[in-house]
């Protein structure tokens, strides 16, 4: 069993086809079971009584409890997967994989994390597994989006003059505009912004899930923000953000 997870890596998982689903997504066999949850023998129980009661029913194989878990927690998991992956079909497959991983690991869930937090991390990991397997988490494709500097350290092109930066808007339209720009970033950078700034994972948790160091996460996040700033700057100057 992985030191950081409750999972048994290397276990192949076969997804059940969705009724009437496209043939191409009917069978997916990941190389590893995507489950990540830090465990600590001394960790306190943080799952509440309602969650633990549900978990006990799940451990007992209660079919109604399984359905409740899927219906209650699935929508948020799907939202998380949709943010990280491009396309609904891929996100749905990741959620299916995440549930299978969660069910397999349920017997070892001890309530040291909230059930929703535990499922969230499993979903992020399932989505990252897909990006990783497709080679989409490589850090090599953002330089063209970063600010350019001359050899003497001055900006390579004249910067726009000072502008008035207003307080962040929290409207739905603003979120839509910002998410559209985030989605223009290469996946490796898009993922780190989503995990840290939107999903609210810590640097440590992000590093574990991305299988890298905390220092690397900080640098990658900075480069992602720099690239995103370049994309958002014209909209800020136009007063749209």
């Amino acid at each position: 069993m992985c030191a950081l997870c409750l999972c048994t890596h290397g276990v192949a998982t076969t997804l059940r086809p969705m009724p009437d689903a496209d043939e191409s997504i009917k069978r997916i066999v990941p190389q590893t079971a995507p489950v990540v949850v830090p465990v600590s023998a001394a960790a306190p129980i943080v799952a509440d009584a309602v969650e633990m009661a549900l978990v006990e029913k799940l451990k007992a194989g209660d079919a109604a409890a399984y359905e409740r878990l899927v219906r209650d927690y699935g929508p948020r998991m799907l939202m998380v997967a949709r943010r990280l992956l491009r396309g609904d079909a891929e996100a749905e497959e990741a959620v299916q994989e995440a549930f299978i991983s969660a069910f397999k690991a349920m017997g070892r869930f001890e309530g040291t994390a909230k059930l929703s937090t535990w499922l969230h991390r499993i979903t992020v990991n399932a989505a990252l597994m897909r990006l990783r397997k497709a080679g989409r988490l490589r850090e090599n494709s953002i330089d063209a989006m970063l600010p350019a500097f001359a050899d003497d350290g001055h900006p390579a092109r004249a910067r726009a003059g000072a502008n008035s930066v207003t307080a962040a808007s929290d409207g739905a339209e603003t979120r839509e505009v910002v998410m559209a720009q985030i989605n223009q970033l290469p996946d490796a950078y898009r993922a780190v912004i989503i995990m840290r700034d939107i999903d609210g994972l810590s640097t440590e948790q992000t590093a574990e899930l991305l299988e890298t160091t905390e220092a690397a996460v900080k640098v990658r996040l900075h480069r992602a923000r720099q690239a995103l700033r370049e994309l958002l700057e014209p909209l800020m100057k136009e007063g749209r953000l």
Binding site: T13, T14, R16, P17, M18, P19, A21, L58, K59, A60, G61, A63, Y66, E67, V70, R71, P75, L78, M79, V95, Q96, F99, I100, F103, K104, M106, G107, F149, D152, G153, H154, P155, R159, A160, A162, N163, V165, A167, A168, S169, D170, T174, R175, V178, I182, I193, D197, I198, G200, K218, V219, L221, H222, R225, Q226, L228, R229, L232, M236, L241
Partner: protein, 98 residues
């Protein structure tokens, strides 16, 4: 003397308070003199705020999952892919007692 490039490269350390005091003072001096870098810092911070503004509202429930997906997941469980799934329970044949 700190350059614009150095400031841009290590801006995250400046914002996170991870720079040594002497280097931080140099960054402050550069920012006082360089209107372009002040603007860069402001728009970088605004970018961070806008990203955080994309956090989903916990009070707003997400849309329900497609029923097809719910059924596919439940079918996976019934197929016995999970050790503790209902379908994985041992079948009790005739004559077996609890």
């Amino acid at each position: 003397m700190t350059t614009c490039k150095e400031l841009a490269d290590f801006l995250w350390k400046y914002i996170d308070g991870e720079l040594p005091e002497s280097q931080r003072a140099e960054f402050d001096r550069h920012l006082q003199m360089c209107i372009g870098c002040r603007d860069y810092l402001a728009t970088y911070k605004k970018t961070m705020e806008l990203c955080c503004g994309c956090k989903p509202c916990e009070k707003t429930p997400p849309p329900p999952m497609p029923e097809m997906l719910v059924k596919a997941i439940l079918n996976s469980i019934k197929a016995g892919q999970c050790d503790n799934a209902p379908a994985a329970k041992p079948h009790r044949g005739c004559g077996e007692q609890d």
